[in-house]
């Protein structure tokens, strides 16, 4: 506060000594705060590393990557945004832990003149309207992606195929969208949905949940898992039940650990959303905004269906 008054005073006095200082301030690289979710999650860690590499390659900005302790630490993420506002960064690129709770602090950032780009999970449009902000979203269409993956299973099983869904975290927007995509595929392929439960994105829990499903429904023919970590647990349960090759699995994320299962044909499809590039795309959008361009709406990023070689 004091420093600002002092600077204004100097500027008003037209102090020549300050001129070089101002010039260097103008050529200073813009600072972009990258607010991620839990960096203990490999997906976000990859995304962050991709972003750091991308920022180095560009060389025209300073990146401050920040993460929270766990996926559900909404308060921690609000605190990060508040701290970035205090630091007066030029732009914030954020993967929100909640699509509504982060809107209020983000609206404060916008008010403070900070450019904001939304990645990964999209802010709720109605909440944005309420706060009179329109923030550009750079990210994949999870629903469309899950539909592509689900369609492979529908084709493999044919109409009437009996399937179950293993869901992500209840309330997590990408989890909700992926379930909707799978439901789209089920409706279109006229599959028979026996059960749908959450395994909180976790391998171990998916193993337990799916084992119990298999006990309850002996006739399951296919599984749609909302991410690859859970698909790993599902495949283990299928093998333990001696049903290897009889139950087909489709999934989402294309993590390295899923590759051998794709080769084996135990998992017949997954979707790559190029997570490592996502934050980099967000940074590019933020740099465009800093340069004076105004972005709104949804910039869809690439999704690629990855199928087993045999199918």
């Amino acid at each position: 506060m004091d420093r600002r008054t002092f600077l204004t005073g100097c500027a008003a006095g037209g102090a020549l000594a300050l001129a070089p200082g101002l010039a260097s301030a103008q050529t200073k690289k813009p600072v972009i705060g990258l607010v991620m979710k839990s960096l203990a999650n490999e997906f976000f860690k990859d995304m962050q590393e991709g972003a750091v590499k991308h920022a180095q390659e560009r060389g025209d900005l300073t990146l401050l990557p920040l993460g929270i302790q766990s996926e559900t630490d909404i308060d921690g993420q609000i605190a990060l945004v508040e701290n970035l506002i205090t630091k007066k960064v030029d732009a914030i690129v954020i993967a929100p832990a909640d699509s509504r709770a982060l809107i209020a602090p983000i609206a404060r950032a916008v008010k403070a003149g900070i450019k904001v780009v939304n990645i990964d999970v999209r802010f709720d449009p109605a909440s944005m309207r309420k706060h009179h902000i329109d923030i550009v979203f750079v990210g994949p269409d999870n629903r469309a992606g899950a539909k592509m993956s689900g369609d492979v299973l529908a084709k493999a099983l044919g109409a009437g195929g009996k399937v179950v869904i293993i869901e992500g975290n209840p309330g997590a927007e990408n989890g909700v969208q992926r379930k909707l995509g799978y439901m789209d595929a089920i409706a279109q392929g006229k599959l028979d949905l026996l059960d749908s439960r959450t395994a909180h994105w976790e391998t171990e829990e998916a193993n337990t949940v799916f084992s119990n499903m298999l006990t309850a429904h002996q006739d399951i023919q296919g599984v749609m898992a909302a991410n690859d970590s859970m698909a790993l647990g599902v495949v283990k349960a299928i093998e333990a039940a001696g049903r290897k090759g009889k139950i087909k699995v489709v999934s989402f994320d294309n993590i390295p650990a899923i590759q051998p299962l794709l080769q084996d044909g135990e998992v017949i499809a997954t979707v790559d959303q190029f997570g490592a590039q996502l934050a980099g795309d967000g940074i590019d959008a933020a740099m465009q905004e800093i340069a004076g361009k105004s972005l709104t709406g949804w910039t869809k990023t690439e999704l690629k269906l990855v199928t087993a070689p045999g199918s």
Binding site: M1, G67, I68, T72, A79, T86, D98, R100, A101
Partner: protein, 325 residues
């Protein structure tokens, strides 16, 4: 021989001063290395960011002083929040009615869960650790059941406004937490109930033998813990502008950490709310300062862990000191 009461006072001040000094050193360090640390905005940020933990830790101090612990506060907070949120969304109520009833619902749910924790653990003599671990699951499952895992949002504007209110540049939610801490301090130091809490924490058997029944005091102490959880839930909702059944995961650990760093003994009977305030401040300053320095999140967690252990080591010296005194 100098008056022994002044000797006790001096020792007590030294005890508090030790934690205060640690906080001061930390503040001076961050002020030196992170230029934006001492700005008015950042100090307001820190105060906002420690508010929830301060409220929870104030309540937790009651449970720990009486010789117990409450592992369920994070989950109960979620249950309070989703029930309050459901009340807030009743269309048949006007805004003031909905806000009033929502707050009431949260406080009642918190007190009921806390009271139940206290009753079950002291009536059957089960360690509070186990009982509250059970309550953690009951409350988390209850919160998921009530909402069917959905987020509740779009609360009345005056309700949400509380989360960003400030008075002379100080966040109002922090002032509320401070006022609650003050009331708690008066209760612990100036009432019979407060003295009984310390007495039970020190030696429950002695209290029983002297003809008092510890059960009522223990149930009430846990009910106070629950009341503070209910208050924290409301304040947290105004900050998030939403309520969801997965909020508050792990908050019990931060609250316990604040109490322990503040010098309250985990075995009960010794400690104070002034210490809890300093403990919560240390955790908040540490988190904020390390972020401003650009320290990695993983390292931040390591530092917090080291501070907790250092605090307990310090506490063991203090315990020896007071035994000798």
């Amino acid at each position: 021989m100098p008056s022994s009461s002044s000797g006790v006072l001096v020792r007590r001040i030294l005890r508090e001063a030790g934690i205060g000094l640690a906080l001061l050193v930390m503040v001076l360090f961050f002020a030196a290395v992170a230029p934006s640390f001492t700005t008015h905005e950042n100090i307001a940020n820190i105060l906002t960011q420690i508010t929830i933990n301060l409220i929870l830790a104030t309540g937790m101090t009651f449970a720990i002083l009486v010789g117990g612990i409450d592992l369920s506060v994070g989950a109960v907070m979620a249950l309070c929040a989703v029930i309050a949120g459901t009340v807030l969304k009743q269309d048949s109520l006007s805004d003031p009615e909905a806000i009033g009833l929502g707050i009431l619902a949260s406080l009642l749910v918190g007190m009921a869960c806390g009271g139940l924790n206290g009753f079950v653990s002291s009536f059957w003599g089960i360690p509070a650790f186990i009982v509250t671990l059970g309550m953690l699951n009951i409350a988390r499952g209850g919160a998921l059941e009530v909402t069917n895992a959905r987020t509740i949002y779009d609360f009345p504007d005056p309700f949400n406004a509380f989360g960003t209110m400030s008075l002379l540049g100080v966040p109002v939610m922090f002032l509320l937490a401070l006022a609650l801490l003050g009331i708690g301090w008066l209760v612990l130091t100036r009432t019979v109930f407060g003295r009984m809490i310390y007495a039970i924490g020190n030696n429950e058997e002695a209290v029983r033998l002297s003809g008092h029944r510890p059960l009522v005091t223990k149930v009430l102490a846990f009910t106070v813990t629950g009341l503070f959880v209910g208050i924290a839930a409301i304040v947290y909702m105004t900050r998030l502008t939403i309520a969801n059944p997965i909020l508050g995961i792990g908050f019990e650990l931060n609250a316990i950490a604040a109490v322990i760093i503040g010098g309250t003994s985990l075995s009960g009977g010794r400690g104070s709310l002034v210490g809890t305030l300093l403990g919560a401040a240390i955790i908040g300053v540490l988190a904020n300062g390390l972020i401003l320095m650009g320290v990695s999140d993983f390292f931040r967690q390591i530092v917090t862990g080291v501070v907790i252990i250092l605090a307990v080591i310090l506490d063991s010296y203090r315990a020896r000191l007071s035994l000798r005194g």
